[in-house]
């Protein structure tokens, strides 16, 4: 199981050394965390924990990249010796606002069923099962719509230079 998980983490993180670290983390947490009373498949559960920890790591490192970028920007401003007031928070809020507007534009271009499924699940918190029952479609179809919506959002909002 160890090799399998480390291999999985290496594939997910792209670095073998990091994969070992996260693998250690999984077992530290296994000892300390509140585990659910019923675990269907222990192996699937270990995968799930490794997956979640790896995702957290990816999130943290992408935040770090963004923050370091912001720091370089403001350092450049002050090096210019001019009294330019930097408002990174305001800038960030404006960027976030713009991003939301673009996301809404992408969502509105989706086929109606796809848009409805996405809105119900991600914005209103309705489960796949309930959406399937209410709309008279299979949960597979719900997943298909969710995939299409998520893919369009990711592709259309990708910044240039990103994969």
């Amino acid at each position: 199981m160890r090799d399998e998980l480390v291999r999985f983490l290496t594939a997910r993180l792209g670095q073998a050394a990091l994969a070992e670290d996260i693998y250690q983390d999984v077992f530290v947490r296994l000892n300390t965390a509140q585990l659910p009373s019923e675990i269907g498949s222990p192996r699937a559960f270990l995968y799930r924990m490794a997956f979640n920890l790896a995702n957290d790591h990816r999130r943290a490192s992408s935040r770090r990249v963004a923050r370091d970028g912001a720091w370089v920007d403001s350092a450049t401003h002050s090096a210019g010796g001019e009294a330019i007031a930097d408002h990174p928070d305001v800038d960030h809020a404006i960027d976030a606002r713009r991003e939301v507007q673009r996301m809404i534009a992408v969502l509105k271009e989706l086929p109606p069923k796809c848009r409805e499924v996405f809105t119900l699940h991600r914005l209103q918190g309705v489960s796949h099962r309930q959406i399937a029952d209410t709309l008279g479609i299979t949960t597979k179809t719900v997943e298909k719509h969710m995939t299409a919506a998520l893919k369009q959002l990711t592709l259309k909002l990708r910044k240039r230079g990103e994969t």
Partner: protein, 346 residues
């Protein structure tokens, strides 16, 4: 020839990845994300691992999907607001009137002619299970509210509306005291979802529908699925409604009628719009008065005017200004209310 084609393709792949491959990669990344959000087996995890190993760019695509998903969660409220307000620029869009629907829409609006006087519904049954809990939600004039019930059902309240919800182990009961609400009911065959309104009750399994209680007139419009409407305590009068059916009844009278409507038009209030097709001005104003603090009366001189169009429901002065620009009418204040009268020809 074949070699040429191959080398062209190879160049494309090494410098700029062909669009179709990028598309496939993100499709797979999103599909994995959606699948892994649910309950999966260890074989699924292994298959995901194999997909990641196949190409380092798969990992990056998955990270992009993960980041987008985080953004969606973070901006949920703004996104939901944005998805509700569509096409706000064109507030009045006249459209062709349909004669078949004319009488019916007029009837519906006439039922709303007097501001709602509220009486408590006849249907009040004590919950049968102790563990049930009763909660009340209400909106003021001009307000909307989204209510998420513990069972996963969603209720959206329109202006000046009150509901009482009891979730019990064997049934889910809602009483619509006044106003209008749209129900999106979570599927649960073991616990029927029953809405009591005046002396009618509406029973559903899992569907979406809208109920309006105004001046003792009860209107039920079904957007999806099937619902059963009956007079309280009298199942012999049950009528089954399907999507696009609208039930119209009056409290105190077991007679009812069922009409075919476009549910999207009835549910337009959710987007902050009201849709009228060749409706007498007086009836339009009666509908609008449900949203207004200062009630509007139509003067005799303007009663023969009719209106077709979509009105954006924002604030009272703006709505009246749009009516004035569309019809030969003008507003004057009188006492606590407003009078809409015909404009004298210039």
């Amino acid at each position: 020839m074949q070699g040429e084609v191959y080398s062209l393709y190879a160049t494309g792949a090494s410098e700029v990845e062909p669009k179709v491959l990028v598309d496939q990669r993100f499709d797979a990344a999103a599909a994995w994300y959606v699948l892994l959000a649910g309950n999966v087996t260890e074989d699924d995890w292994r298959a995901y691992s194999v997909w990641l190993e196949a190409d380092p760019q798969n990992r990056e695509a998955f990270d992009a999907v993960l980041a987008m998903s985080d953004t969606i969660d973070r901006e949920k409220t703004l996104l939901a607001d944005g998805m509700r307000s569509r096409d706000e620029q064109s507030t009045i869009l006249p459209f062709r009137s349909q004669a078949s629907r004319r009488r019916f829409v007029g009837w519906m609006a006439a039922a709303a002619a007097v501001a709602a006087a509220i009486t408590v519904g006849v249907f009040v049954r004590a919950p049968q299970v102790q563990s049930s809990q009763t909660q009340t939600w209400a909106t003021g004039i001009g307000e909307h509210k989204d209510v998420a019930l513990a069972d996963g059902s969603q209720i959206r309240l329109n202006t000046d509306t009150a509901i009482v919800v009891t979730l019990a182990g064997n049934r889910r009961a809602v009483r619509l005291e006044r106003g209008e609400a749209t129900f999106d009911v979570a599927h649960d065959t073991a616990r029927p979802f029953i809405v009591a309104v005046g002396d009618r009750q509406v029973e559903v399994v899992g569907t979406a529908f809208d109920i309006l209680r105004d001046n003792h007139a009860v209107t039920v419009t079904v957007a999806r699925g099937i619902v059963a409407v009956s007079s309280t305590g009298d199942t012999a009068t049950t009528s089954r409604l399907e999507a696009g059916d609208q039930y119209l009844g009056r409290e105190g009278d077991i007679a009812y009628r069922i009409a075919k409507v476009d549910p999207a038009k009835v549910l337009a209030w959710q987007d902050g719009r009201l849709i009228f097709e060749d409706v007498p001005l007086e009836d339009v104003v009666a509908s609008l008065n449900r949203y207004f603090d200062q009630k509007v009366i139509v003067e005799e001189s303007a009663r023969d005017l009719r209106f077709s169009g979509i009105l954006k429901i924002d604030d009272e002065p703006s709505i009246l200004r749009r009516l004035e620009s569309f019809l030969p009418v003008t507003t004057q204040s009188r006492g606590n209310g407003l009078i809409l009268k015909r404009r004298s020809p210039a």
